[in-house]
Assembly symmetry: C2
Homo-oligomer: 369 residues x 2
């Protein structure tokens, strides 16, 4: 059987799209493929230049998903975890969520000028990521207290949505959620088209990421695993609400990532994608001594022209040194952003995935368990 | 369009099964239905007697899933959460996980007789659920320390598997994982066949439930949300392991359930199923002031002949008093187990779901987002 490829259906999937998809199931059931298939075949990763990274991921996906392959992995076990900051969108020089937090804090200080005399607020507004993102940071606690704690989860989501609608990235002039990496969007689609479930496993906050991850990446809220604090259940005039607190703060970074993956997914991933030493343990957990043929990939920020080349600098916040050094011995594929990616960000209003027959096939297999 | 029904395919879904499923997609795409469909139509809930509970759930599922219905809910939002103990399998007189814990503790005391002098062990082995399951119970902490803490998650899962393979329920003489409620298994299948994702939201431990939930209910590990403690990531001779600790104990009961649902799913459920006052907040969170036409159901333990009638007794551990009192005002459907269920447990080696065309259709819809 030939490898699964994408067959774009140009019309939205309505009743006829569904009928076409149904007809297209036949070749994949082992029956003769109509000539149509070849004619519609497209490149699943058009923003990836030919090279070792592109070839490695395409051939691995084929190897673990093609029926009859000795390395075939059942769809139920096809979990792919992605770091977000620096892997799916930029994190240098400031993680985008930190920009949201600082913008929100500035707005609050404008409304309540007395806050400007708070020494912690003064330090925070200098925007040094290292001091704000240190594990257990009291400064971050204070800032979260001023920008998130006490809000219901709906109020918080509305605040993030409002920020995305108005804030623009100072260098690129675009809304932050339009600055996702187009090559990674294509990879997410390609994996899902082959029966994978794609997860975000991020040091960013779950409640922050969930607001826009489905539109930006096709990753729904229930597949976002981020840093978190507990919410508190309350009935307000009989209506249930969840209020954000500072309790049980969990920083989803480094050794926290395998821990949160186990808590949320309960399986070892089959593939993990990261960009910094904060992803080292996730990649080890995924690929080392995994009885399945697992896959690890590191996005190496080498593109000083279109983005930033920063990740091997001594004090960079998204530092990639130890994981890069371990990559060869573990077989992790390293993406050289400058060389491997022909496009960085999506075209304005670009569609996330082209509807493809393989996208329809994958869940059908998945349900056979 | 007629309501979706199940069409059992009697052969395992191989290449021809897939071809048949493909052909069956056509009627659901709005094209004429072949006569085949009617001939294969079956009752999705054969273990439910006709009555208000059965009618209510069937008509609600139809209402929220039928294309063109004013109450139609997109598949991505069709999340159904189920309590486990007392809702999907018995919890009286002792929750099954407590039986596992006590059996494991007894085995350890046999190997290390000095433990028999530990006053906490002596109290624990009396098996009083109230003292063991109180929130923050130090007794439970000590028992977990002796039966789970320090094990890798694989070692723990192997221990649960071994127990299921050998332990038998004292009254029913069957392995515990064969004592799930057959009517609820049918309901889980019916919901999934209509594009729902089914979740366990249980006071039991995630690591305990995940071992057997997929085989027993068709609920995979990543849709199990239970009580938990953190694991700790370690490299042992370079191999990654997760070790169970007692840190960050989370009891997933009462107001903890909406909190864990938000943490894991990030959406309000569309339906919630429980059996005790421990599920009250989950049902409120799901059904009160939900802009979607939500559904709540309580399993009322009324069957003293086939099971136990206990849940309105003053000191019962799975007490159903407050939630039952609130049911009428919130429109929650109450299942009278003695009256509404014709069968309690599945036949030995019964198949979980009959493969049905609707099971194949649902994920196709779900992926259109």
């Amino acid at each position: 059987m030939p490898p699964l490829r994408c067959f774009p259906v140009t019309t939205p999937l309505g009743r006829w799209g569904l009928a076409i998809a149904a007809a297209m199931l036949l070749p994949l059931a082992g029956l003769p493929a109509p000539a149509l298939s070849q004619a519609h075949a497209g490149d699943p990763l058009p923003s990836w230049r030919d090279g070792p990274a592109r070839r490695a991921v395409l051939s691995w996906v084929q190897r673990v998903t093609q029926a009859g392959s000795p390395d075939f992995v059942p769809p139920a076990e096809r979990m792919a975890t992605f770091d977000n900051d620096g892997t799916l969108w930029p994190e240098n020089p400031l993680p985008f969520q930190l920009r949201y937090i600082l913008d929100t804090l500035r707005a609050r200080v404008e409304r309540e000028p007395a806050l400007a005399r708070d020494p912690q607020v003064q330090v925070a507004l200098r925007g040094d990521p290292a001091s704000l993102m240190a594990p257990g940071s009291q400064l971050l606690a204070r800032v979260l207290e001023l920008t998130a704690t006490g809000m219901t989860v709906e109020e918080y989501a509305a605040s993030v949505r409002q920020w995305l609608a108005t804030a623009r990235h100072p260098r690129y002039g675009r809304p932050y959620d339009q600055l996702t990496y187009q090559p990674m969007r294509e990879l997410l689609c390609h994996l899902r088209a082959h029966g994978f479930r794609t997860w975000i496993v991020s040091g960013g906050g779950s409640d922050f990421i969930r607001v826009w991850s489905e539109a930006a990446y096709g990753i729904p809220p229930e597949q976002v695993v981020g840093s978190s604090t507990d919410t508190r259940f309350e009935l307000r005039q009989g209506r249930p609400v969840l209020v954000k607190t500072l309790e049980r703060r969990f920083l989803n970074d480094k050794a926290g990532k395998p821990v949160s993956i186990h808590a949320a997914i309960g399986r070892r991933p089959l593939a993990a994608f990261g960009n910094s030493d904060g992803d080292l343990e996730m990649l080890l957990f995924t690929t080392v001594a995994n009885p399945r043929p697992a896959f690890g990939m590191l996005v190496h920020h080498t593109d000083s022209r279109r983005e930033y080349a920063y990740d091997t600098r001594p004090r960079s916040s998204g530092r990639l040194v130890e994981a890069l050094a371990q990559a060869p011995s573990h077989g992790w594929v390293v993406v050289d952003m400058a060389r491997d990616w022909s496009t960085l960000f999506p075209a304005v209003d670009a569609r996330l995935c082209s509807t493809s027959v393989t996208e329809e096939i994958a869940p059908i297999r998945a349900i056979q368990r």
